[in-house]
Point group: C2
Chain length 358, copies 2
């Protein structure tokens, strides 16, 4: 009996963005193609011109038409957006956060891993390998705040953190699923001794979902203490589940201790698959090194691995991760043997793609 291979086409919205975003995205796509070769799954790519350049040219950050078109896709790959010439907040809120909210990206998944040989600022990094499951559609990111008497000595400005049982529970369930598939250790990070209402909601939800995952051990840590452990004992973490702002803070610190956000990838995920999820490197558009072909595409390639996992290609995802591991090993050996490898952006992408096709 002849097996017929199922053929699937993944409609991928690609947002190269600005600066090095444009340089790393092609490497991510190269690796996606290499990883999917022979699986029967192919990528059909549509580019979206969004970011600082578009904003300068047209004043648009993300139009309703852009959004509607993006929604027709299965997933999104983003390079990086932003430029010092754009006022702070414009692209963050008008583009990045708008995508997260409109596409109901309630999970922001950020793995933190220290690769052997990568320089870390810590003397004893230990075995750093954890993921942060950050809430993406609530908390202080809702834009729920305001100000009165602006510009006067009587100004009052508020910011409201909104937390719902619905929103917290769906995130916490996702985090427990992740933990269950890993080392089975989940840490809730919050500040419930001060933020009583939100904190207790998070705590109760974690306690109640925990009942469905008896094999996952659950831990709690105030956010201030978490920033200490991140530096003194990051190996203690497996899955961290936390709110939008705490997650923002902790993932940057996590990037720093693992040797720089240059290697960190992020998924803004709608696990229910109602809307396309988005995958991206955590680093920015780095205008200072843009255009020279020297940006490291590894974070984007790791974002591609998260994307593969999300679209139902866990084997391809694992192969990409393994190829990155191997490439990091090559770098470490070069460092030991006399000097760092100097490879261009596309040489790194080529090397990893070649390893995948081998």
């Amino acid at each position: 009996m002849a097996m017929t291979e199922a053929r699937t086409t993944i409609k991928l919205a690609v947002i190269p963005g600005d600066g090095i975003g444009k340089e790393v995205v092609p490497e991510g796509l190269k690796v996606l193609d290499a990883a999917l070769a022979g699986t029967g799954t192919t990528i059909e790519r549509t580019d979206f011109d969004l970011g600082a350049e578009r904003w300068h040219a047209t004043g648009d950050t993300l139009t309703d038409e852009d959004l509607a078109a993006i929604k027709e896709h299965d997933a999104i790959l983003l390079g990086a957006v932003g430029d010092p010439s754009v006022p702070s907040g414009v692209l963050e809120r008008g583009l990045l956060l708008r995508l997260r909210f409109e596409l109901d990206h309630y999970v922001n998944l950020r793995p933190a891993k220290h690769y052997p040989g990568v320089l870390t600022p810590l003397t004893e990094p230990g075995d750093i390998d954890f993921v942060v499951v950050r809430e993406g559609t609530e908390g202080l990111y809702c834009g729920n705040g305001g100000a009165v008497r602006v510009g006067t000595p009587h100004e009052i400005a508020t910011e409201v953190s909104v937390n719902t049982a619905f929103g917290v529970e769906r995130l916490v369930r996702y985090a427990f699923e992740r933990a269950n598939a890993r080392r089975r250790r989940l840490t809730l990070v919050h500040k419930h001794n001060v933020l009583v209402h939100a904190g207790h909601l998070w705590r109760r939800v974690v306690e109640s979902v925990a009942a469905d995952y008896p094999e996952v051990s659950v831990d709690y840590c105030h956010v201030d203490a978490a920033t200490i452990y991140m530096v003194t004992d990051p190996a203690r973490f497996d899955v961290i589940v936390t709110d939008n702002l705490f997650g923002d803070i902790l993932t940057d610190e996590a990037g720093a201790i693992t040797g720089g956000i240059g290697l960190a990838a992020s998924g803004s995920i709608n696990p229910d698959r109602v809307f396309p999820s988005m995958f991206e490197p955590v680093h920015g558009s780095a205008p200072d090194i843009a255009g020279r072909g020297i940006a490291d595409p590894t974070a984007t390639i790791l974002a591609a691995a998260l994307l593969l996992e999300h679209i139902g290609e866990p084997d391809a995802a694992a192969r990409v991760s393994a190829a990155v591991d191997a490439d990091m090993g090559t770098r470490a050996r070069a460092n030991e043997e006399g000097g760092p490898l100097t490879r261009s952006t596309s040489e790194i992408g080529d090397a990893i793609a070649a390893a995948l096709r081998a």
Copy 2:
């Protein structure tokens, strides 16, 4: 012509608290006395029984009578309060935060300094010597939040960060004063690309106060980036000014990078002197090592130095800081010469007091 020495009595409210709090406070007092010997200023001490033990015995955290009595003092020295037997939040909100809010401690001053020889988790700590000026009476710490439909799938919990021009400006002025007396570099930490209303209030206030301090250079950093710099380049900071929650997070991270919060002191200050200010070590009551006389009193002694500065004894304060510097040098040499000094809590206090009297 004979000079008559002005004689001043400082009425000091002392809250030893729980665990090692009771052990480190006597060393702080010992050092205060030694530093003030010959200055004409003397300490008149009143003890307040507050903390976990009192709560277990009476159910009180801080009564109106306690508060009224404390207000009759010039300053407060606190050891540490808390015990795992007390539910999280009870003493934090009922005692510590209540004191900060009732006594209008709008400045929370937390120096971060790496002493040579002290083990830090960073490979290249550089010259870490900065202070965090954290707001203490606003932000997310106001208790302004609530919840509806608690315990149901429709629960909504909010936390409101309240920021006022009045509250931010008085803090920012204090921070500029500090910066002006130091290396003249002030960094505002916020997240104004997301927290637009509060962020812009902070930004505008910093810009307007900056006009009065033309010699202070002003810098801005998002809180997530600040947690990175804290690990990769902490020497860049001189004075950080920030809100209540960001300050909570950053000062713990600062404690970690300087070699543990065991050496960090904190002042909850009302610069207008309407109410007594409070000085304390940042560490907790450490029930695991309490009762054995092995706690390091250095953080409390540094808190005593902050207290001396606040009560108008800057020379005595400087001598305490210098004596701590010297003691840290002694430790570093001992470490190099074969092994750490093993000294009891009171032996460390004695050594520093003796140096001050010498």
